[in-house]
Structures are given as C-alpha cells and as structure tokens.
Amino acid sequence: MNKTIYFGLLFVFLVLLQVFVLNNILFLGHINPYLYIIFVFLYPLKKSRIGFLLLSFALGLSIDFFSDSGGIHAFSILTIAYFRLFFIRLFLNKFEVDYPFFKLNLEPFGKKFNYIVTLTLLHHFLLFFLANFSFQNMSQVFLNTLYSSVFTLILYFLSIYIFSKKQ
C-alpha cells in the first residue's frame, strides 16, 4: 500500500482507538494504556524530520481535543518524537546511512525492548506529570507512570506478535 495513505489511515485509527476504546478501559479505576505512541515507533526514519514532528504533534493534539487536556498529549508525544533518533543511536547503533534500510522488527529483541521501554516511560512520565500539574502527589505520578507503561507495553508487544505472524 502507498506509504502516505497507510500512515494517514494509521493516524485516524490510532486517534479513534485511543479516544473511544483505550481511554474507557480504566483498569482498577484509573489505569489506561496509551497505545497511540506506537506511531512514533512505526514511522520510518528519514533525514528530514519536519513532517514527522508535525504529524506527531497533530496526533497528540487530536487526542487532547477529545480528552479536554489542553496540550499534554501533544507535548509528551512530541518530546519522544524528537528524541527518537538519539535513543536509536544509543540503543540500536544506527546512523544516518542506515535510515533507509532500518526496520524495527528485524532488530534483536533485547535492543528493541530497551528502546521502546525508554520512550514509553519518558512519554508516560511527562503525560502524568503535566496532567497532575503540581509537585504534590508525585508518588501518584510515578505509580501511574509505572502501571500505565506496563499496560501499554503489554498491549504493544501483543499486537506486534499478532500482526507479525501473518507473514
């Protein structure tokens, strides 16, 4: 399928999935997965990043519109979108020459795991910190970050497992 159409559909699908399904899970009263950040993992690496940053920002902002949260999703996803390349260099040892051939699925599981876990934790921490918007209840913020990250990661690896079996 054409790459642009594919990522356009993925964008809309992730917004609807997050807003109408995942935001209503509220496991144990308040724990939600935030699976929409897989957009950052799936989007291909390119030298020019303006489009990618803009799309990530728009994705976060669309979810903010639905969940009345100002710009916290936009802020958090934009941060991990910007620092993605840094962590790819750190954990996966990939440089600009490798970008066109890079596929996250083909990387060894350990390295991939580190990369995804770090970005997920970073995103969730920023999200809950901004949602709380004070330095009180910090223990709550850390706990929420931990629980939601585990939830998101389980969902992410499950869905990767399910969808990659087809090939």
Binding site: F57, D68, A74, A131, N137
Partner: protein, 274 residues
C-alpha cells in the same frame, strides 16, 4: 548574516521542536485557566458529534439503571407535588401571591456524551449548546446531586467543568447553616473536600452537605454528599471529607440550571467594584 542562516540550517529541527513544544505548553496553561480555555476542548462540532454518535449506541447498555433513577426522581417530585396540593387545599380561599410566580431558575435537560473522572482536571461533554439557550457558568445537576458547571460552548455541545476538577470551588454548607468551600484534591473520585468550615461548627459523621446558594451559579440546597471523615487534629486547614451522593463514574441524563437573575447580580457586583 551567513552565520545566522547557517545557525538556522543547523538547528532547524530543534527550533521547530521548540516552537511546537511552546504551542503545546501555551495550550496546557490556557486549559487550566477558566477564562482562556477556548481552543482545545471537546465542545466543537467534530469531537462533540463523534462523542454523540458513540453515546447514542452505548446508552442502550445502561437503559435499566437510568430508568430506575428517573423513576426514583419522579417519585420524589410527585411527593413534593402532593405536599403542595394539601397545603393549598387547606386554605379555604385562594391566595394569589405574585411573589411566588417570579421564577428565578429555568431547567433544561441534557445528556452526558463524554464522561471523565480519573484525571486531576476532569471535564464532561453534554449534547446541548447555545442553540438550547445555554451559556457559560450554568449549574449542571442530576437527581442525586451536583455534577459541575458549563464552561465552553459550541452551537450544539457544551463542556462541563466537573466537580472533580482541582480548579473547581463551590460554595457549600452544612444543613445547620455553617458554610465553607468545596474542592477536590484529585485522588478519589468518590470523595471531595470541604474546607473553611469554622472550627466551632458542630460537624458529625453522616451530616448532609448541600450547596450554599451564595454564588450566582448554583441554586440553594442542592444535595452534594455526606460527611465521612473529620480532621480533628490541629491542622491549619480544617478539612472535612465528603462522600458524594452521585456516582460520578456513571452519570447519564443531567439538568442544566439557568439563573435568570444572574445578569442582574453580576451587574450589581461589578458596579460595586468601580
């Protein structure tokens, strides 16, 4: 000049990142400020419309519970009506008291199409907007107690600032008349906090808390909840934990109350400032 261009070339992604991040932060700050939260909210045609479509389907799952609630409320209102009737029949000539016909509030029914209660700053969306005569700062209640007040409106939808929002302050009182301020600490969606109650006020576990009627938004005497915990130690803030009568995780139909004399009150209060 060339160095400036070179600088922009080198850091263009970082500068773009900073620009977008700045926009996001501005939106976050504005959203927490009641006067400025205009742009990012769920009361626009697209998000409101989508929420409405989904709510139309998911409503079927709670039909039974909603019906029971409405029936309970109808019973309550019918009882009131009977009381009134007996009162008026006991007087042998009909008294026409014009003051009683001066209506102060009007009530509009609406439906919650998007409910939030697990965050620190919660907002709800309802399916009525300016087309139904709604405006900013109107009370939203249901049969069991208060829900919140309207803050942002489009033509067909309105966003409600929930009572479960760390910025919400509502004038509330004990049944015996001592009043304080109701707010929420963002932790448990069943428990809200009543502060500024005078120390000499006789508070007991199980006392009923209702709205105080000292604001232009909420009518007097709407139920809120009951006292479950009293802070008796020598803390500076005399906090009383109140358990809400409403289950904020399951609310469907609500009423929006418009204060017909609000403009008059506001005008008077503003005039005093000048």
């Amino acid at each position: 000049m060339q160095q400036l261009v070179y600088f922009f070339q080198k850091f263009k992604y970082f500068l773009f990142f900073l620009l977008l991040q700045f926009i996001a932060l501005t939106l976050i700050f504005n959203n927490l400020n009641f006067q400025k939260s205009k742009y990012v909210n769920s009361a626009n045609a697209l998000t409101g419309g989508l929420y409405n479509k989904v709510a139309n389907i998911s409503d079927y799952f709670s039909l039974k519970a909603t019906n029971t609630k409405l029936l309970e409320e109808n019973t309550l209102l019918r009882n009131f009506l009977q009381q009134k009737r007996t009162l008026s029949f006991s007087v042998d000539s009909i008294v026409i008291d014009t003051i009683k016909y001066h209506q102060k509030y009007t009530v509009t029914s609406a439906k919650i199409i998007n409910n939030n209660y697990a965050k620190a700053f919660n907002f709800l969306t309802i399916n009525k907007g300016t087309a139904a005569g709604l405006d900013k700062e109107m009370a939203v209640v249901n049969g069991k107690g208060i829900v919140g007040f309207t803050d942002n409106l489009s033509i067909n939808y309105a966003r409600i600032q929930s009572i479960l929002n760390k910025n919400t302050r509502i004038n509330a009182r004990l049944k015996n008349g001592y009043f304080g301020t109701l707010k929420w600490n963002g932790l448990d969606y069943r428990i809200v906090q009543l502060i500024d109650i005078p120390r000499q006020a006789p508070v007991k576990i199980g006392d009923t808390i209702e709205t105080g009627g000292k604001s232009a938004i909420f009518p007097e005497g709407i139920l809120i909840g009951e006292v479950v915990e009293i802070n008796n130690d020598n803390a500076v803030d005399n906090v009383i934990n109140v358990k809400l009568f409403n289950d904020m995780s399951a609310i469907g139909p609500v009423y929006v109350i418009k204060n017909l004399q609000k403009e008059e009150i506001k005008f008077l209060e503003n005039e005093a400032d000048e």
